[in-house]
Amino acid sequence: MLGDGILKGLVETARNFAGSYVSKERMTTVEYPEERLPLPEAARNFPFLVYDGDDWEKGLRCVACQICEKECPPKCIYIEKSKDKKPDYVGKPQIYPAKFDIDISVCMSCQICVEVCPFEAIKMDTEFELATDDRFGGLLLDRKQLSRSNEYYHQIHPTEASEVDARLAEEKAKVEAKAKAAAEAAAAKAAAAPVEAKPAPAAKAAEIAKAPAAATSPAAPKPLPGTGSDGTAPMSAEDKKAAETPAKPDEGEPKAQGEPKE
């Protein structure tokens, strides 16, 4: 009959009306500023810089390689390299960003910077309450505002963060094992031929540096980095690390090692 649908609908809405006072489960909304729903693990909006340890300035993983700056589609990242160096997580001295700005009013949250970073230094944040009354300065975040601890990263993306940690630990272990092997080899060599080994200390260091690289991958004897500006690709960075590490204790030699000069 005409109108019974309307009556059925009225009964349904009346049931909803009364039910919303009785059962909490019915309510579909939460009162936002006081209570909030947990964000899904895949949530992301703007990038941040990860640091290890307690001191954000010392522990910053970023080595200012500028890959993210170059890859960023809307060009919202601005990096200035430091003049000096500081040791990274394996203890190797690295350049660090003297300036690292992200303009989040330009950022489009594409995550490409995270995907290209070879040092696991930049990750996506979930912080979304970024409204400000200063639309220029307030939305241009510098490296201090961008840096977050590794624990925070574990908090917001637990699975991803443990994977990253495992990868870094593995790498560190590999590097340490190599350093140990190289040191042993050097000691053995020195013991075997103590008289011969008399050339200039720089040449000796280069020899030592070459030795483990040749041992691990004889097909790819890398030239010492610092000669050209090709050292930025992530792959070569790995190899480079392996090649350079034994030379680390030697202070005077690796003047132009590591990243290319501008």
């Binding site: 009959m1 005409l2 309307i6 009225l10 349904e12 809405t13 909803n16 919303s20």
Partner: protein, 391 residues
């Protein structure tokens, strides 16, 4: 004591007027009543907006506004301050004079309707002989203001909204009138005070409201449908259809003019509800003879409150109609039923007392309702569209 309470507002007014010279009493009395009406209904409007937002929210399993004041009851204050302080924009190509007059005319005509509505025993501003006629004349003028608003804005959405509003309001105005004519037929008077008096007797403790007769019930249903359409309320809110027309005829209004439209709409709802309860639900009469100790004005505003709740309930339930459904419903269902109801009311009048007239009148109306409902409102089958020339 109960009499005193029942007449408290009337006595208060007379007491105030007692301090004035004889020749001043009539005009000042009118002014006092008008100010009361103009102050009271916007206050009710403010309460209703928050009630509606809370009610609809609960229907949708939300909490609704709860930030301003305890449980959000001060929300209308915040809204009022907001609309007062907002910029009043008039489009450059709009007809400024008409654009300004439209909301004013709406509010004025809507308030005029209250002049003839009795809000309690002896509580009526003007006891006009042709009160019902006056009411409908004022109600029809609101269409003018809606069309003025739509036309003067020079905006296609406004104009579309206004066209829809006029088409809808004129169609349902007919049904509204015809369903009320039945009452006039039975009471023999156009005065709303007399119509209430005609219902003012009880048998076995129950009142003789017109809704408790077959023709009265049918007329009440038709009146409710037409009244909802007349005030542009959901499900007949096509003239405003936010999802289609931005805001319909008041798209180009902002600030306090918009607030006036909003106010006019709600006050029109109050006035339609008040007229409906006057015609069918006994106006200010108590629903049981034992409850007559409660003042009459409480019953009037209680009925008003209940009908507002029904309006809100309907809004939370029904989806918006399509334009063709709206028109079909008005002309193919409501209008024939109203015409038939006129006949049934006549039959009732001349069949005399007894159970036979109950049987006959109910049977006619139910049969008509079922058959017209089944035939006229049958869902039309739309096949794939065929093109005659452009194939």
């Amino acid at each position: 004591m109960t009499d005193r309470l029942d007449q408290i507002f009337v006595l208060l007014k007379h007491w105030l007027l007692g301090y004035l010279p004889e020749s001043w009493q009539t005009p000042v009395g009118v002014v006092i009543s008008v100010v009361c009406i103009i102050g009271l209904y916007p206050a009710l409007f403010a309460i209703t907006t928050v009630l509606e937002r809370k009610g609809v929210a609960r229907i949708q399993n939300r909490l609704g506004p709860n930030r301003v004041g305890p449980y959000g009851i001060l929300q209308p204050m915040a809204d009022g301050i907001k609309s007062l302080t907002k910029e009043d924009i008039v489009p450059t190509s709009a007809d400024a004079v008409v654009h300004f007059l439209a909301p004013v005319i709406l509010v004025v005509t809507v308030f005029m309707g209250f002049a003839v509505l009795p809000m309690g025993r002896n509580m009526v501003l003007v006891d006009m002989d042709a009160g019902l006629l006056f009411y409908f004349a004022m109600g029809a003028s609101t269409e003018l203001s809606v069309f003025m608003a739509g036309w003067s804005s020079r905006n296609k959405y406004s104009l579309l909204g206004a066209m829809r509003a006029v088409a809808q309001m004129i169609s349902y105005e007919v049904a509204l009138l015809l369903s009320s004519v039945v009452i006039v037929m039975m009471t023999g008077s156009l005065s709303l005070v007399k119509i209430v008096e005609a219902q003012n007797h009880y048998s076995y403790g129950f009142p003789h409201w017109f809704i408790f007769t077959p023709w009265g019930l049918a007329a009440f249903i038709m009146y409710a449908v037409a009244g909802t359409a007349e005030t542009n309320r959901s499900p007949f809110d096509l003239p405003e259809g936010e999802s289609e027309l931005v805001a319909g005829y008041h798209t180009e209004y902002s600030g306090f003019k918009f607030a006036l439209f909003f106010l006019g709409e709600y006050v029109a709802m109050f006035s339609i509800s008040a007229l409906g309860s006057t015609l069918f639900l006994g106006g200010w009469m108590a629903p049981l003879s034992v409850l007559q100790v409660v003042p009459s004005w409480i019953w009037f505003f209680g009925k008003l409150f209940v009908s507002m709740c029904v309006f809100i309930w309907l809004r939370g339930t029904l989806p918006r109609l399509r334009q063709d459904q709206l028109m079909n419903f008005a002309w193919k269902f409501v209008l024939p039923m109203c015409l038939l109801n006129l006949f049934v009311a006549g039959l009732w009048r001349f069949m005399g007392d007894g159970w036979l007239r109950w049987l006959v009148c109910s049977a006619i109306l139910i049969l008509a309702y079922v058959s017209i409902g089944r035939e006229g409102m049958r869902r039309q089958k739309f096949g794939p569209r065929s093109y005659r020339y452009a194939e």
